[in-house]
Amino acid sequence: MAELNQDSGKGNKGGKVRAKKAGGKVDLTAMVDLAFLLITFFMLTTSLNTPQAMDVAMPDKNKMDQNDNLEIADNRSITLLLGSDNKISWYYGQLAKPIYPPTTIDYGKEGIRQVLLRMQKEVPQRAGGKDLIVVIRPSEKSVQRNLVDVLDEMRIVDVKRYMISKINSDEIEVLKSEGLFND
């Protein structure tokens, strides 16, 4: 038992009146409460501290031929141009003769995800059952958050084929005309 035994045996030399012994039990409830609160806190912070990893795989680089670009069917691919101000411009098909011309949209649930979900249904119908290919082209004005957000959408929507590739000057012009190329 938690008792505080005050040893007062030696103190009564001069026949003094003995001080009344204080109650021996200490209430530990509050102390235990506090200890468990802290335990919970430290347990949660230690396990939540490890950061998440988002795996990315890039294609093998062809050093012999820098212009070795993979040909993909026009009606299978949509291209996302990541511009400034947290906005995306996307188009379907080839930029020169697009099936859907470039349109500006936002990131997130209401923006890019709706487009991806729609195209995921539409592309197999147009391309004879073949699934959607998404080409991600970050411009130099986009930031890391944009890239991670787009890759995250790929995972959420479950796009099987996507790639990160280099933006070209025509596409930069598109971003400029849509006002998505600001610092």
């Binding site: 038992m1 039990k25 200890a35 335990i39 990893a53 795996d55 890391q144 995972r155």
Partner: protein, 216 residues
């Protein structure tokens, strides 16, 4: 008279043992939680809902923030082997004491020629402001120091894994993984330079380090 008084059981419970156990656990968690050292380069990573966790070992982390690139390896033995390889490649010699200090170094952001100077400083003076970042460019030569660091770290990991092959119950953890820990506001060209550096040495797979997004 003669009515028997009902004996009431005491309502107080002895909490000593419970208190002991909880404080033991508390001590354990406090000690394990503070073992992590504060990072030199503060990186505010973007958020994702990726369920994967970053591995604890066999990992090289490239941190990018404010246009500066830092590099760090998780395993102290790999750090030592890497520094040996780098020392040969760049003809900079390090003393045994400096190797020992480098083994304790979580991450750094200085060119190889300034590394000795950094190691000579005490721990609390190795701040971000005196470290200009590791030089990186689009080449594969010695001027692209990040390329060398990643390459030598990968070699060192293989070397280290091979040296442990004879040990009992040893499972090969595989080659070193590379993670890019970039600030959410870092512009894409800086990231692209790192990705290209990795691709040039056929390190086509890597991870972006992110925080956990709560809502979708």
């Amino acid at each position: 008279m003669g009515k028997a008084k009902v004996k009431r059981a005491s309502t107080s419970i002895d909490m000593t043992a419970m208190c002991d156990v909880s404080f033991l656990l508390l001590t354990f968690f406090v000690l394990t939680a503070t073992a992590r050292q504060p990072e030199v380069l503060v990186v505010d990573t973007p958020q994702s809902s990726s369920p994967e966790k970053l591995p604890d070992d066999g990992l090289g982390i490239i941190s990018v923030a404010n246009g500066k690139i830092f590099f760090g390896m998780k395993n102290p033995n790999v750090r030592e082997l890497t520094l040996k390889n780098i020392s040969q490649k760049y003809s900079v010699n390090f003393s045994a004491e400096e190797y020992e200090k480098f083994k304790q170094l979580e991450e750094f952001g200085v060119p190889v020629r300034n590394l000795r100077q950094l190691l000579s400083l005490p721990n609390d003076q190795r701040t971000e402001s005196i470290q200009p970042g590791i030089p990186v460019d689009s080449t594969e030569t010695n001027s692209n120091e990040l390329y060398s660091w990643v390459q030598e770290a990968r070699r060192a990991t293989i070397e280290f894994n091979r040296s442990r092959e004879g040990e009992k119950g040893y499972v090969d953890p595989g080659p070193m993984k590379v993670a890019i820990k970039a600030d959410a506001e870092e512009k894409y060209p800086a990231i692209n330079l790192i990705i290209e550096t990795l691709r040039n040495q056929k390190q086509n797979k890597f991870s972006f380090v992110t925080g956990l997004r709560q809502d979708n």
